[in-house]
Structures are given as C-alpha cells and as structure tokens.
C-alpha cells in the first residue's frame, strides 16, 4: 500500500469520502442516459466557468462610480491575460442565458414538465430568470455607457410597476438616481445573492433528476454513458467559450458612463424582444404589450403541467403555442437589429460612441485620476475642447465634423489662418465659407476683383494684383499665428518683408496692424498682428470688442448674428482651451 493510498484510507475512515464520491458519480440515472440530461451538464459547465472567472475578476474589480470603469479597463487592456478571464466570463454568461432558455424550449417541447418533474421544471424557469438577472446586474458593473444607459432605462421600467414601482426603483438604484449605492447593490446581487441562488437551483435540479430523470429520454442504460455524454458536452461548451473569447479579444467596453451624453441605449440581446415590444406598444396597449404579454408567456410555461392533460390534443395545447412564442420572440428580437442596421442616424451615433470608447482607452493607458474615468474624459484637452466647440461654437461655425454647413452663419474654420485659407479669402471674402453669410458680409472688398456695385465710371485698381504679392501676404499673415511647437514654416526673409510691407501699408486702410491703422476710422476690420495665434484666438473668444481682435462695433446689436463674448459663460480656462483647440484643429497643428 503506497503512502497516498494510506492517507486516502485514513481520511475515508474518518469522512467516508469514497462513498460520497461514488454516490455523486455512479448513481443510476432515472430514465436512462440522454442528451437532455447532458444539456444540464452544459449549463453547469457555464456556471463553473462563471464562478471561477468571476472570483478571479473580483480580485481586481472595484465597485464604485469612480473606479469601476477604470478597473474593468485595467482587466481588459493591461492586466496579464485579463482579456481572457473577462472574455470567458462574458461568453459563459451569454451561454448560461442561452442554454437555460434552450432547456425551457426543449423541456416544453418534449414534455419535461410532466409528473413527477413539475418542480424541476419550475426550477428551470427560475434558472432563466436568475441568469437574466445576472446578465442585467453584471452589465452595469463596468459602469460604461452601454451598461449604464440600459440600466437607467430598466430602472425606469421597474418604476412603472403599479403601487410599488417607485419604491422598487429607488431600492435598486440606491436612491432617486442610479449612483454609488445602486452600483454596490448590483454588485452584491451579481456576486453573492444571484450566484448562490443559481447554485442552489442547479443542486436541487440535480437531486430531483436523480429521482425522476430529466425527461425526454426513455432508454435505459448504464450511468457511465451519461457521464461520458455530459463530460463531452461540457467540454464542448468550454471550447466554444474559449473560441468566442479569442475571436472577440475579450468583451466589449464602452466609454465611461456619462449621464450628460446622447447615447442610443440598447439592451442586451436577451432583452431585445421586450425592447421591441416597448417600441411597438404604447398608449393603452403599453401595459398589455410590455408587461402582461411576457407575464402571460411565463405563466403559460409554469402551468404547462396542467395545461397538457391526457385527452387534449398536445399539438394545440403545447406545440403550436410554443412554436408561436419562440417564433414571435425571435422575430421581435431581430426587428430592432435590422432597423438599427439600416438607420444612418443610429450608425452615426454608434460610431461616435465607439470613437469615444477608443479615446477613453487611449487616455486611460496613461493612468486614470482618482476622481474617476469620467473626470479624466472631462479634463482631457482634446475631448473637452471638442465638446466646448460643439456646444458653444458649432451653431454658427463649421470645423471638421462639428457644425452644419447649411446653417452656418460664420466662417468655416477648416484651414483658418493657413496660407491657402488667407489667399482664397482675400480673393473672395464674401464666399459662403468666409464672411458672406455673416455680419461682416460685403464689408471687406476683394483684393483683386472689382466690386460689382461700383459704378463703371469710377476708377478702381486691385489692392494686391500679382500672385507673388498675394502669396507674400498669405505667408506673412499665416506666420502671424505661428506658435512655438508648430511645424516650422519655410518663408524666406524677402517674402516675409514683402508681406509685412503690403499688410502695414495697404491693409491698414481698414485693418489695424500692431494697433496702428484704420485710416478712415470705420472700426470694423480686425487687428492683423498675431492673427490666428493662441493669444489672438483667446482674446476673440473671450470678447471680440477689445481691439486686440475686433473692436467695439463687433458687439453692436445692429450687426445681426455677430459673435458673442464668452468670458461670462465660460471660465477663463475653458476660453483658453476652446481657443487653443479651435486654432489647432483649424491649422492642423498639434494641440498643446
């Protein structure tokens, strides 16, 4: 007798573990081995993967609104093999919901609810509900846009329940809004209450199956065959979960939850049927379509043991309704997917959300501040600058994707201050992309085109006629906006001198250059020294009427659609940021 055997013997004498093991693995299976009972093994395999990877994830995850997204980001993108663990968890969760639902469909079709298996049947129905509950609570934990918005909507759906709705909603959300306590509650349910309940259901189902079998198979045979089938199916499930994880490189992670954003919320796939029902049924039909119909389906399934009675045609009482339910649920789930696939607006919003998610990951790679991932996004100059431009500038200006060229009333800023922009502008200042649709339309004459309104007998000569002069002016003015750190500009001294000479002699009839000029005192044309620089842009955003850019006429109420001052609306830091962002994106130089 080897040492190991002696230890085993010693333990068996005191614990009886050999008998327990035999009982667990060699107990005869009632009804004989069947693929139906192997499906239970597939469910158990999913649960096993979830428990193992779930505990592993708990060792890194931190459930707070400040840390949740950052810790999930860390798991997915930084921690060694983190994406595998998270991906396995994600895909095993999809598998658990799908397989539990499949068991219900199979059980209903094959009569697995018949005496004496009613209780096991109800436990299977309960399992689907618990698995969906795990999916819903788990979806919130990353605290990303996808999960957060879906839960906000579901919280409000909960709030619609008669009498107790508002109370239930506050219980789940941890208050009137989804916040820190709501996240902690979802976490508690996800890692403690629901998994324990699922484990109990699985154990109880197994005990009941020992008594009466899983149903659906009548053949008798040795138990060993069942173990082989179960192991085979469980292995297949694990391989499939690994394959899905490798294929998707883990699990998706959207940008950090932002309650201020426009996010086209969509639920998990297993809730798509209910989602579509909610869109289709409203008004008087809402309660029927979104609450009573799903409840009726659940009630029908739970009552199958009494609905399916000897003497009633089973095709009518079970098979036809079941086929209708499955077909209806699938059709309703596919409908919103197809609709979104064809919806250009949704595609645009989704693309924006994906771009934001990528930007968030890129930023987080440099470290997330203790105030959290959303604060990280809010303080990032690139993202914040874009948001400020969108909110405050894009209703009049166009720059890149921001603004609507059809509605713009101010200059299109792509290329603003570059030689090409200046050369085109001084040739045709009233073009729609320059000043033609704004408050300064018809104020600036072209440097080389005779004004259409000028009577034919009046003498006229171009301000700047030759291409070389125009080029010199464009290069010189563009260089006014150059900042240290911008790509170097190749302008030879002669061109620069020619440009400065023309600007200071010919443009100052109306413009200021270094505070001098505006010979006829019109008070309209802007300062050209430093035109397009950070200081110039910042001064213009803060207050266009200081003579550092434009002058007091700039805010004249008679000058319709003039640019407002922003130093009252925006903090000095935001004025500076939006100026630097706009200048950098207009000129195509790095933001610094």
């Amino acid at each position: 007798m080897g040492a190991l055997e002696r230890i085993g013997e010693w333990l068996d004498e005191r614990t009886g573990w050999r008998g327990a093991l035999r009982e667990a693995t060699e107990h005869p299976v009632a009804g004989g081995p069947s693929w139906a009972s192997a499906m239970a093994a597939a469910v158990a395999a999913c649960f096993g993967v979830l428990a193992l990877t779930g505990v592993a994830l708990m060792t890194t995850y931190e459930p707070s609104p400040q840390s949740a997204w950052a810790s999930v980001f860390y798991v997915q993108f930084v921690q060694d093999r983190g994406w595998i663990v998270r991906g396995l968890h994600h895909w095993a969760a999809q598998g658990l919901v799908a397989l539990a639902a499949l068991q219900v469909v199979h059980g209903a079709w094959a009569g697995g609810y018949r005496k004496p298996r009613e209780v096991a049947w109800w436990l299977t129905l309960l399992l689907v509900a618990l698995a969906v509950g795990e999916g819903i609570t788990g979806g919130l934990l990353p605290w990303d846009q996808r999960g957060w918005w879906a839960r906000v909507v579901e919280g409000n759906i909960l709030g619609l329940a008669p009498a107790v709705g508002g109370w239930l909603q506050r219980m789940m959300q941890g208050g009137p809004e989804l916040g820190a306590i709501g996240l902690a509650r979802a976490y508690t349910m996800h890692v403690a209450l629901l998994p324990v309940a699922i484990a109990l259901v699985l154990a109880a189902r197994r005990r009941l199956a020992r008594r009466a079998g899983w149903g659906g198979g009548a053949a008798t045979g040795p138990w060993a065959q069942q173990v082989a089938r179960s192991v085979l199916v469980a292995l297949f499930v694990v391989v499939a979960v690994f394959a899905a994880t490798g294929w998707t490189r883990g699990a998706p992670l959207d940008a950090p939850a932002d309650p201020m954003s426009d996010y086209p919320a969509r639920p998990e796939w297993f809730l798509l049927t209910l989602f579509e029902l909610r869109k289709l049924c409203h008004g008087a039909g809402e309660l029927w379509g979104t609450t009573l119909a799903p409840l009726a389906v659940a009630g029908y399934l739970a009552l199958l043991p009494w609905i399916d009675r000897a003497g009633r045609p089973r095709a009518l009482t079970v098979k036809l309704p079941l086929a209708a339910i499955v077909a209806g649920a699938l059709a309703l789930a596919v409908l919103p997917l197809r609709k979104d696939a064809r919806d250009a607006r949704y595609a645009k919003q989704r693309a924006g959300a994906d771009a934001l998610a990528a930007a968030a990951v890129k930023l987080a790679m440099q470290g997330v501040p203790p105030e959290g991932a959303l604060a990280m996004m809010r303080h990032d100059p690139e993202l914040r600058g874009e948001a400020l431009f969108e909110q405050h500038c894009a209703s009049c200006h166009v720059l890149g994707d921001a603004g609507d060229a059809r509605k713009a009333t101010a200059a299109k800023l792509d290329g603003w201050g570059t030689p090409g922009w200046i050369a085109a502008m001084i040739h045709d200042p009233d073009a729609p992309q320059f000043f033609g649709r704004g408050p300064y339309a018809e104020e600036m004459p072209s440097v080389d085109v005779r004004p259409a309104k000028k009577p034919a007998d009046e003498p006229w000569s171009p301000t700047i006629a030759s291409e070389a002069e125009k080029r010199a002016v464009a290069m010189f003015l563009a260089a006014q906006g150059d900042e240290p750190g911008d790509p170097p500009r190749a302008v030879d001294a002669a061109t620069r001198a020619l440009g400065e000479k023309i600007v200071s002699e010919r443009c100052t009839t109306c413009h200021l250059y270094g505070g001098q000029g505006d010979d006829d005192g019109s008070g309209i044309a802007p300062e050209l020294r430093g035109y397009g620089s950070v200081a110039w842009t910042r001064a213009q955003v803060a207050d266009p009427a200081t003579a550092r850019t434009y002058r007091d006429q700039a805010l004249d109420p008679k000058r319709k659609k003039h640019m407002p001052r922003f130093d009252g609306d925006l903090s000095a830091a935001d004025v500076d940021l939006v100026a630097r962002w706009t200048r950098a994106h207009a000129r195509g130089v790095p933001l610094r």
Partner: protein, 173 residues
Amino acid sequence: MADDDRTDRRRALRVLAVAGGVVGCGALAVPTARFLLSPARGGASAGRWIPAGRLDALREGEPKRVALVADRRDAWTLEKQVELGAVWLLREGDAVRAWSATCPHLGCAVGLSPSGPGFYCPCHDSAFDAAGRRLSGPSPRDLDSLDTRVQDGVVLVDFRRFRQGTAGKDPVG
C-alpha cells in the same frame, strides 16, 4: 409524575427556543431591513435655480442644449460644480423656454429631430414638436418644461427631475 415533568420541560424548552429564535432573528432583521430600505425613501425634489448661460448666446428659433453645472451629491461623494443634467433652451424674445433633456418615457437623452424641427429620443423613437409637445412614439406626456427667468442677462433654470413613464408630471427627489 416524572413523565409529565419531562413533557412539561420539553414543551417549555421548545417554547423558549422558538421565542428566543424569533426575538434573536427579529433583533437582527429589523436594523438590517431598515439599513437596506434606507435609500428607498423618496421625496419631491426641491428644485433649484441654476444658471444656464447668457441670454445673448441663444438665438431665436434655434433650440440649444445646455449642461447645468452645480454641486452634485451621490451618497457620500460631493462633487463641486459638475454637470448635473442637460436642458433644451429656446429663446422667445427676451424670454426663454426650457425643457428637461431627459425623455419623459424612460429617461434617455432627447436630441434634436433628424427630420425637421422638434425633438427625438433615440431609444424608443418618441418624437416631440418644436414646442415640446408629444407627436408620436411611446412617451406618455410632452417634454417636461422647466421654469426660467433672466437676470442680468443670464438665463436661470429651475432644475427638477420628474418620474418617468407616467402621464402626469410627478417631481422626484
């Protein structure tokens, strides 16, 4: 006599065990339940006047989405001057109309309609006209209008939240 004695003692022990169990479990359950139920206490929101930018930044007939910045408390966290919620502002002369940007149906963010004037919720396709009135989709009521006033050229909004999904406009905490 001895048998009766034993039965009495058993009964007494059973009563004691049950009563003790009830008292013990109750002593544990009451504070635990109160603890768990504490966030469920609701109340109407007080509303507060929050600045929403300068009047001259708004243009007639052009709705503008504005983020309201104020202090925000979430359980133990107090965030100073963060974006609290969004509203849609529409200038009408020297007055401003305001609507909460939260969809009265189920709380998604309401955007501008892709087709023509008005508002639209991307979650369940509720549509509203330019005056916030319900046009189509599942929303049970019009967009939630908010009170505004203009003071020294600055628009102030009385920011409140309302219960979602109900036909009536019930304020929530």
